[in-house]
Amino acid sequence: MKTTPTSSKTSRRKTAQCVAFSLLGLGSLFGFFFLAFIVFWIVRQGAPAITWEFLTQAPRRMATEGGIAPMIVGSIYLTLGSLIVALPFALGSAIWLSEYAWKGWWVRAIRIGVNTLAGVPSIVFGLVGLSLFVYTLGFGVSLLSGACTLAMLSLPILIRASEEALRAVPRSFREGSLALGATRWHMIRTVVLPAALPGILTGSVLGMARAIGETAPIMFTATAFMLTQPYPHSLFDKVSTLPYHLYALVQFNPYYNETKPIQYGIVLVLMVVVTLLNLTAIVWRTRARRRKAW
C-alpha cells in the first residue's frame, strides 16, 4: 500500500482534510467564544449594581441614583401589550394557513408577506409607527402606539411559530375528530388548538423575548427619558423601557460616567430577562418534543 503511487496523493488529501477541519473548528469557536465572553463580562460588571433598591425604585437626580423599576414595568407593559394586539391576528393567520388552505396563490402570497415582514428593518417600523399611530391615528407618543408598533414587528415571528405548532399536531387527531362528526371549526377548537397550545405558548415567549429588547421601533413612538410620572396610568401615557433607558443614559444624558454602574445593571437585568425567556422556550420545546405521545 505504502509504495503505490497513489499513497502520496492519499496522504496529501488526508493533510488537506486535517487542515481544513482544523480551520473550520477554529472558525466555529468564534461564536461560542463571543457568547461566553459577553456573558462573563456582563455578569461581572453588572452584578455589583443589582440591589433590591435598584430593582424596586424609580430613578432620582437625573437617573444618577435610584433604580430602574419604572423601566422594568414599562418593558413588561409594552411587551405584553404587543402580544395582546398581535397574537389573535397571528393565531388566526396560522389557523388559516395550516387548517383551511394548504396550497395555492393566496398561501404563497401570504407566506412571502410574512417572510418580507420579518426582514423589514426595525427602525422602519419605528417610522411607520410614528407616522401611523402617533400622528395619523392620533395616539400620540404613548404606550398604545408603542405596543401597536411592536405588534407589527412581532407578527411574523408569532405567525411562523403558531403555524409550526399547529402543523406538528398529527393528522390522525384531525381525522379522528372529523370522523366523529365534528365540523372543521369544532375540530380546530376542541382538538387541534389544545394539542398545539404548548407550541403556541413557546412561540409567544420567543416573540416576547424579541420584543423586549427592541429599541428602534419604540424610541419615536412610546418612550421618554424624563418621565413626568414614573408609572403609566393609561394607554396614552409615555413609558420608558430598559433598552431605551440604557440608550438614553449612554447617548444623551450628560452624566455619562456617574451612571456607569446603572448602565451595567440595566444590561445585566435585560440579559437575564431575555435569556430566561429564551431558555424557558427552549426547555418547553424540548420537553414537548420528548413527551410527544403521538
Binding site: 488529501r13 488537506a16 482534510q17 480551520l23 473550520l24 473548528g25 472558525g27 466555529s28 468564534f30 461564536g31 463580562w41 456582563i42 391576528f89 388566526g92 393567520s93 389557523i95 388559516w96 394557513l97 387548517e99 383551511y100 394548504w102 402570497a109 401570504i110 412571502i112 408577506g113 418580507t116 415582514l117 426582514g119 423589514v120 428593518p121 426595525s122 427602525i123 422602519v124 417600523f125 417610522l127 411607520v128 407616522s131 407578527l155 405567525i159 393528522r171 381525522e175 372529523l178 372543521r184 423586549i212 429588547g213 427592541e214 429599541t215 428602534a216 424610541m219 433598552p243 440604557l246 449612554v250 448602565q263 444590561v267 435585560l270 440579559m271 431575555v274 435569556t275 429564551n278 427552549i282
Partner: protein, 322 residues
C-alpha cells in the same frame, strides 16, 4: 399537505363562515406590509418631489413652499436639515457608510458563519450540533443595545489602541459588532441548507473514494450553494437594517468616506438620532422618511432575492412548494 387534507370543505364563503373569517385574518400580514410601504413612501414623497437637477434647483431662501433640494447637494457632506437660510441634506455619505459597514461586516461574518455551519453540521459530533443551535439562538436573542454597549465599552478602546484612531468609534467597530449579530442568521440558515442536501449525494461521493473534506468542498457546498447564498443575503439584510448597535459605535460623523477607520454615520443611525429633533411635516422630517424608504427598498430587495434563491433550491431538490 396534499389535496386530500382531512375535512376539506367547499370553497363558497357563505357555506363556511369560519373559513372566510380566518382568511380575512390571514390577510393581516399583507395588510401590514402594505401599510408599512404606503406610510413610508407617502411621507418620503414630499422630499423626493422637491428634488431638482441643478439648473432650476437654486434654493429660494424665503419662500418656504418653493424650497427645493438640488440632487447634487445630496452628495455633499453637509447635513443642515434645520437651517433657516440654506438647508442641506447630504445623504449620500450615509448611504456610502451603510454600504461600507455592511460589506465589512459580511467579510467577517461569512467565513466564520460558514465554517461554523460546516464544522458543526458535517464534521463535529451530534451533541455539538444541539449545543451549537442553542448558542446561536442565544446569540440571536441578545438585544441590539447590549451588543452596542459591549462594542462601545469593550471593543472601541481596543480599536482605538490597535489602529490608533481617536475615540475608537469607527466604521470598523460597527462592522465587527454587526458581524457577530449577523453570524447566527448566516450560520443557522447555511446549516439548514447543507442539511437539506440529499444523503445520496454524500454517499455517492464517499463511495467514489473522496475524503470527507472533498465531499464537503466539491459536492455539498455546490449542492447547497443556493441556500448558502440565500443565508448570506438574509444576513446582509439584517446587518443593513440594524440600528442601535451601530448607533453606539459607528461615531456618527457625516463624512463622505468609505474608509472604515473613520467615524461614520449610516442611514439607520441618522434616522434614529435626528427624528427626535425634527419637526413633524418639515423638510427634515420627510428627508428622514426618504432615507427610511431607501432602507426599506434595500431590505425588500434583499429579502426577495433570498426568497428566490430559496425557491430555486427547493425546486432543484425536487421539493414542490406547499
Amino acid at each position: 399537505m396534499t389535496d386530500d387534507h382531512p375535512g376539506r370543505t367547499p370553497k363558497r364563503w357563505h357555506r363556511n363562515p369560519d373559513r372566510t373569517v380566518f382568511f380575512a385574518i390571514a390577510l393581516v400580514s399583507l395588510v401590514t406590509l402594505a401599510t408599512i410601504i404606503y406610510f413610508i413612501f407617502a411621507q418620503a414623497a414630499p422630499f423626493v418631489g422637491k428634488l431638482r437637477l441643478s439648473p432650476e434647483g437654486t434654493i429660494s431662501k424665503y419662500g418656504l413652499t418653493f424650497t427645493t433640494t438640488r440632487i447634487s447637494d445630496l452628495f455633499t457632506t453637509k447635513w443642515w436639515p434645520e437651517s433657516d437660510a440654506e438647508q442641506f441634506f447630504g445623504m449620500v455619505p450615509m448611504i456610502v457608510a451603510t454600504a461600507a459597514i455592511t460589506l465589512g461586516a459580511m467579510l467577517l461574518a461569512v467565513p466564520f458563519g460558514l465554517s461554523a455551519a460546516l464544522f458543526v453540521g458535517e464534521v463535529g459530533p451530534r451533541w455539538l450540533k444541539d449545543v451549537f443551535k442553542t448558542v446561536l439562538e442565544l446569540l440571536a436573542a441578545v438585544p441590539s443595545v447590549v451588543y452596542g454597549f459591549f462594542g462601545l465599552i469593550v471593543l472601541s478602546p481596543h480599536v482605538r489602541e490597535t489602529f490608533n484612531v481617536v475615540g475608537g468609534k469607527t466604521g470598523l467597530t460597527a462592522a465587527i459588532i454587526l458581524s457577530v449579530m449577523a453570524l447566527p442568521t448566516i450560520a443557522s440558515l447555511a446549516e439548514d441548507a447543507l442539511h437539506a442536501v440529499p444523503k445520496t449525494y454524500r454517499e455517492a461521493s464517499l463511495a467514489l473514494g473522496a475524503t470527507k473534506w472533498q465531499t464537503i468542498w466539491r459536492t455539498l457546498i455546490p449542492a447547497a450553494a443556493s441556500g448558502i447564498i440565500g443565508a448570506v443575503i438574509l444576513g446582509t439584510g439584517r446587518a443593513i437594517g440594524e440600528t442601535m448597535a451601530v448607533l453606539f459605535v459607528a461615531g456618527n460623523a457625516p463624512f463622505l468616506t468609505a474608509n472604515l477607520f473613520r467615524s461614520m454615520r449610516p442611514i439607520t443611525s441618522a434616522i434614529a438620532l435626528d427624528m427626535a429633533e425634527s419637526v413633524h411635516g418639515s423638510a427634515h422630517y420627510h428627508a428622514l422618511f426618504a432615507m427610511g424608504a431607501m432602507l426599506l427598498l434595500i431590505a425588500l430587495t434583499l429579502n426577495w432575492t433570498a426568497e428566490w434563491f430559496h425557491v430555486r433550491l427547493l425546486r432543484r431538490q425536487g421539493v414542490r412548494e406547499g
